[in-house]
């Protein structure tokens, strides 16, 4: 991994980094990945786990109004006529 990789990952994760942060992250990730690498070499059988499966979806009816619409709208950083306002994408 090098600084370019860190920059690409930061771009994917939508995080801005200062140059000093990039080199610190490179160092930290290096030591974490060195530790994590021990699973790469591990020879482990591919086991099946039994999961109990059941339908967790509710019927397609009117949903129960447990969320406060006003409180949700009040948390929007920007809104207009009770709609969330976002920047144009294209």
């Amino acid at each position: 991994m090098d600084l370019k990789d860190i920059e690409n990952l930061a771009e994917l994760a939508k995080i801005e980094l200062l140059d000093i942060e990039k080199s610190k992250l490179l160092e930290d990730l290096g030591s974490i990945l060195a530790y994590v690498k021990q699973i790469e070499e591990l020879d482990v059988p591919d086991l099946e786990i039994e999961y109990s499966q059941r339908n967790v979806w509710r019927e397609d009816e009117d949903s129960f109004p447990i969320f406060s619409k006003d409180l949700i709208i009040s948390q929007f950083p920007d809104s207009k006529n009770n709609f969330l306002k976002v920047k144009k994408i294209l």
Partner: protein, 475 residues
């Protein structure tokens, strides 16, 4: 005068119902402790005390509880002051998850556990400090500054639910809720000398818990003893249709009289503080005297639990925290384009450990590395799950120290991997979706607390509470 540092929920409940004191008296006593020590220990980020809180003011809550008790409707948690970790939603209240990005975020609904506590008439005292988004083992990652260990304020209280542990250990509340993703309840409980419990995955609803790592997170109780932890657990557990992984615990058959515990000796050979190991052996001796059968067990995969955890957790973190982009809620910093706004908001709002894990998670999920890291981690995770399953055919519990070290000083663990190693005995339990409890097991020469961890088979949650009673008489 009520001494909230020694008073248990059980005793307080009896006193409330017999009229010895009221919930108002009890809340006053806790507020007094908060006044005396919160500036120093920084357990609470916010205490719901004052007119602006209206019906949620602690005295208003206590009055309603006293009314419930007077009308004979009191239950075990009625009128009991409880502290809540800052990642559990309560309608209209700020829930910041210890992060700047959610500094002013007000919850739009009650978490399932809050709903349960409100129904029972518990008094919710306020929100407690934590490592940002529950990532850390010391509260040093909180955007609002660390909490301090009440036993020695030069040392960390453990994390990530450090504030909740401190609140209970210092008598600012009689119980508390935390969340445990890799040890975040059990570890601070051990460091602060109290009981902390992580339930079987699904036993406590995650609805209203700010998601860190959804396949690992569980809410659970902090208390002075196991009777109290059980009272809180019974109040907050149960099936919830808002959590697709919710379960109802099946009642277990009574265990045989002789309890058999397994010790993964190989796993204790390296990296455990000598004093911690000595206390562990002494505690095992006490358990033997109590009639427990102690046997060595082999767990060849358990040593890979921590590296597996540091693949699966960051992967889930990077996806869960993608929702925080300054658009729908949280802190926004305007940029030219929408993506610029995302980047600026996230960069201003996330602390160093959060960024580190988001970037790490993005890496292990990226094309070309997905198989080597993420898929491989799940393969090993399944082997760990199977290893526990097989062992629980032979023993009733697996026992280790809760933390391989004593509470450390602030700034002592500056390397991320060194900090991660504090969770070596706790993460495997989350990976295997099992229940576990941390029980105080005495004090070091310097007066610092030790903890011992019992892990049981899936859905053996209630049986875990009985063990502490056996150890307590001998402490």
């Amino acid at each position: 005068m009520i001494d909230t540092r020694t008073l248990t929920i059980e005793k307080a409940g009896e006193a409330l119902r017999s009229g010895e004191f009221s919930s108002l008296d009890l809340v006053s006593a806790c507020l007094q402790k908060i006044k005396e020590r919160n500036d120093e220990l920084h357990a609470f980020l916010e205490v719901f005390s004052g007119e602006k809180y209206g019906v949620d003011d602690v005295y208003a809550q206590a009055k309603r509880a006293d009314e419930m008790i007077k009308n004979g409707k009191g239950v075990a948690m009625t009128g009991i002051p409880i502290a809540i970790k800052d990642n559990i939603l309560m309608t209209g209240m700020i829930t910041s998850s210890g992060s700047k990005i959610l500094e002013n975020y007000k919850a739009s609904y009650d978490a399932f556990v809050i709903k349960k506590l409100k129904e029972a008439g518990a008094v919710i005292m306020g929100r407690t400090n934590m490592d940002e988004f529950a990532m850390g083992s010391s509260t040093e990652n909180s955007a609002y500054g660390p909490s301090k260990n009440p036993i020695d304020p030069a040392r960390v209280p453990g994390g990530s639910s450090g504030g909740s542990a401190v609140a209970v250990a210092s008598g600012m509340a009689l119980g508390a809720l935390g969340s445990d993703t890799g040890g975040s309840i059990r570890m601070p409980a051990s460091f602060c000398g109290i009981v902390g419990m992580k339930a079987t995955y699904g036993a406590v609803s995650r609805s209203g818990l700010t998601a860190l790592s959804s396949s690992l997170d569980q809410i659970g109780p902090f208390a002075k003893d196991s009777e109290d932890a059980q009272i809180i657990f019974e109040c907050i557990s149960g099936y919830d249709e808002m959590d697709s992984t919710s379960i109802t615990l099946k009642p277990k058959e009574k265990k045989s009289l002789k309890i058999k515990i397994g010790i993964p000796r190989d796993f204790l050979k390296e990296g455990v503080d000598a004093e911690v190991l000595k206390n562990f052996e002494e505690t095992l001796e006490k358990l033997k005297q109590k009639g427990y059968e102690v046997v060595d067990v082999s767990m060849p995969y358990i040593k890979y639990a921590l590296p597996v955890y540091y693949v699966i957790l960051p992967a889930e973190v990077s996806t869960n925290l993608a929702r925080l982009e300054g658009m729908r809620y949280g802190h926004r910093v305007e940029g030219e384009t929408m993506f610029d706004t995302f980047k600026r908001s996230r960069s201003a709002g996330f602390g160093p450990e959060t960024r580190r894990r988001i970037i790490l998670g993005t890496y292990v999920l990226s094309h070309g590395y997905y198989d080597a890291y993420y898929n491989k981690a799940w393969k090993v995770r399944r082997a760990i799950i199977k290893e526990y399953e097989d062992l629980f055919k032979k023993v009733d519990y697996i026992v280790t120290p809760t933390v391989p070290m004593l509470p450390f000083k602030f700034g002592e663990k500056s390397d991320p991997v060194q900090m991660y190693l504090a969770d070596i005995f706790t993460v495997s339990v989350n990976l295997a979706w099992l229940p576990a409890i941390s029980i105080p097991s005495g004090f070091s020469k310097e007066g610092l607390p030790f903890g011992i961890e019992f892990t049981g088979p899936s859905e053996s949650d209630l049986s875990l509470f009985a063990i502490e009673k056996d150890l307590r008489d001998n402490r």
